[in-house]
């Protein structure tokens, strides 16, 4: 990629006996919203924190805007803005004071009023940090990440633990960053978030990027198939349903059976007949177009949130 603003090559990181990263590589172009999608413990946070300069890698290289996060010093820190997964501010710090404080630390004079308005915190400008709701704290965290007008924004699980309404508000903010041509790297384990926000996604599992591309490209792995998810009264032997008409893939996931079919009506009819003949019972059935979750299941045999 010629216009890559973030370059990651063969990153490795070990915590004691645990290999958190086993050679992660990807590139992000300027102005792109790039997502690292994977379950908890996949290595997303370790990767993003190496890129933020918060951790050092054991091996491999990473550059952000041509700077080494570990050696870039103040110049690097002025280039990036970040929302960390686990962070806080003192409870007795007011919202407007926090914005002014970080503005001063970056030697810039952010338009506090505009930032407060943009992030819906105008009414909370005099509120103590300790009195804010989870969503308000997260909006403030994003506002703080932008006080220095960074070229690259890192968002580590920006909507984790937030209710759907607040999550949608955060999505709107990220869409705004896209319009401002900011380069954004976000980590998430929410399929909807990755599909809706990201120009490109890298699926991470056990410290490796197991697939990457645009959400559309990734979903094309399952192109032409429909996901049929069923739960049965009695488990059926592995692969028994694979022989049903139209079925291209069949897996047991979380005690449920996930079939991918190119001919859903015929598959369902065949399934019902098969269950009747084997004296089994269909307890529930869901049909959906393939998502990134299906790609993940296809690649790993597990759900994202396991």
């Amino acid at each position: 990629m010629s216009d890559a603003i973030i370059q990651v090559r063969e990153l490795t990181k070990r915590y004691g006996d645990v290999e958190a990263l086993r050679g992660v590589s990807f590139e992000i172009a300027a102005g792109e919203i790039f997502g690292l999608l994977g379950p908890n413990g996949a290595g997303k946070t370790t990767t993003i924190e190496i890129l933020e300069g918060m951790r050092s890698a054991d091996g491999g290289t990473a550059t952000v805007c041509g700077l080494d996060p570990q050696r870039g010093g103040a110049e690097f820190k002025r280039t990036i803005g970040a929302v960390l997964q686990s962070t806080s501010l003192p409870d007795k710090l007011r919202v407007s004071e926090a914005l002014a404080l970080f503005g001063q630390l970056y030697d810039c004079h952010p338009d506090t009023a505009t930032l407060l308005r943009r992030f819906g915190l105008e009414e909370k400008r005099h509120a103590f940090y300790g009195k804010l709701s989870g969503g308000q704290k997260q909006r403030l965290a994003i506002a703080l990440a932008l006080v220095n007008e960074p070229r690259v924004v890192f968002l580590d699980e920006p909507t984790a633990g937030l209710d759907p309404q607040v999550r949608r508000e955060i999505y709107a903010i990220i869409e705004e960053l896209r319009r401002e041509k900011k380069t954004v790297l976000l980590t998430t384990h929410y399929i909807e978030e990755a599909e809706r926000l990201c120009d490109r996604v890298a699926i991470v599992d056990h410290g490796l990027v197991i697939a990457h591309g645009t959400p559309r490209e990734l979903k094309q792995r399952s192109a032409g198939t429909t996901r049929i998810e069923v739960s049965l009264a009695r488990a059926v032997p592995d692969g028994e349903l694979r022989a049903l008409e139209g079925v291209t893939d069949c897996r047991d996931v979380d005690g449920r059976t996930v079939l991918h079919s190119t001919r859903p009506p015929q598959t369902i009819v065949a399934l019902v007949k098969h269950l009747e003949s084997s004296n089994n019972e269909l307890q529930s059935l869901e049909i959906a177009a393939p998502s990134l979750e299906d790609v993940f299941i296809e690649l790993t045999g597990r759900r994202l949130r396991e």
Binding site: M54, K77, R78, L84, S86, S88, L89, K92, L101
Partner: protein
């Protein structure tokens, strides 16, 4: 330096919003001042100055409690890692902690001196410049020691344990809780290896004997040296995050920082002057004198004994 000042103002603002600061910084030292005065200096006079020296030293030494706990809380709550993203280094964070502590200490010291002078009828206020400089330098020294504790300790519980051990050593061996001359001879020798002892004896000399700054060289060198070393050490071992491990080399720095205290203690032990002077001050302060009977009448006369 601008960033250090910005963070200092931020720390001051937080402190002013914290009731614990008022309680531990102003109220409790005053309670001790009244209590000790009632027990040991009920007649006013120079005994109040002796008690005041102990209470001032206690207030100053208390710096390491507050700062070490605050830093550990900031680290455990992930507040430090948020600041780590900003273009500031560990030194800036540490300087702002020390500076805010120093600024917050000054009003408390002033109130304690004023109460001793006008409420408890301390007959002389000693050399105020020496008192304030020693207190200020002491505040810096003990704040820095607190920051070392915060960087060494892995959790709040560990911080509490280390603080308790240090606090009790400082309190019991430096002459704050028990006058130095009343300790067993061998403990007096141990006390000479503690920076707290130099703070207490220095404050006693400044308050009771009017000793000017120019003659407090050993005290200033001890406290200043401690502060510089402790600052250097805590810069080496500063941790932004709870899971960050202290480098093995940094542990050696902590051990190396003790060497100057050993040298100073050995030098003072061989000289013997400090312990002798502590005995003289104690004897002269609590000796029955006509002035004590009329303690309410303040006198600005300089202290009678200064054997240095």
């Amino acid at each position: 330096m601008n960033h250090a000042w910005t963070l200092t103002l931020f720390r001051l603002r937080l402190a002013m919003r914290n009731r614990a600061f008022l309680v531990f910084g102003i109220v409790i030292p005053l309670v001790f001042l009244f209590l000790f005065s009632a027990v040991f200096a009920s007649k006013g006079g120079p005994a109040v100055a002796y008690v005041l020296a102990s209470v001032l030293a206690m207030s100053v030494m208390g710096s390491f409690w507050g700062l070490s706990q605050q830093l550990v809380i900031f680290r455990e709550q992930g507040i430090l890692r948020r600041f780590r993203l900003a273009p500031i280094g560990a030194g800036t964070m540490l300087v702002s902690s020390i500076a805010s502590n120093l600024i917050l200490m000054v009003p408390g010291i002033a109130v304690e001196i004023a109460v001793a002078r006008w409420v408890l009828h301390m007959d002389r206020v000693g050399d105020l410049l020496s008192v304030f400089v020693l207190s200020g330098l002491g505040a810096v020294t003990f704040a820095t020691l607190g920051l070392v504790v915060a960087s060494v300790a892995n959790s709040m519980m560990e911080t509490q344990v280390i603080n308790q051990l240090l606090w009790l050593s400082f309190l019991l061996l430096s002459g704050v809780a028990i006058p130095l001359p009343n300790l067993p001879r061998w403990l007096q020798q141990v006390a000479l290896f503690l920076p707290a002892t130099y703070l207490v004896t220095g404050l006693e000399r400044a308050l009771i004997e009017f000793v000017p700054l120019t003659r407090l060289g050993a005290e200033l060198a001890s406290l200043g040296g401690s502060a510089l070393l402790a600052f250097f050490v805590c810069q080496q071992i500063f941790r932004w995050e709870p899971e960050q491990k202290m480098p093995r080399q940094a542990k050696l720095w902590v051990a190396a920082a003790l060497v100057p205290f050993l040298l100073l203690g050995a030098w003072e032990a061989s000289r013997g002057g400090r312990l002798g002077e502590a005995r003289t001050i104690l004897r002269s302060t609590f000796a029955e004198r006509p002035a004590q009977r009329n303690a309410a009448a303040p006198s600005n006369a300089p202290a009678p004994t200064d054997k240095r």
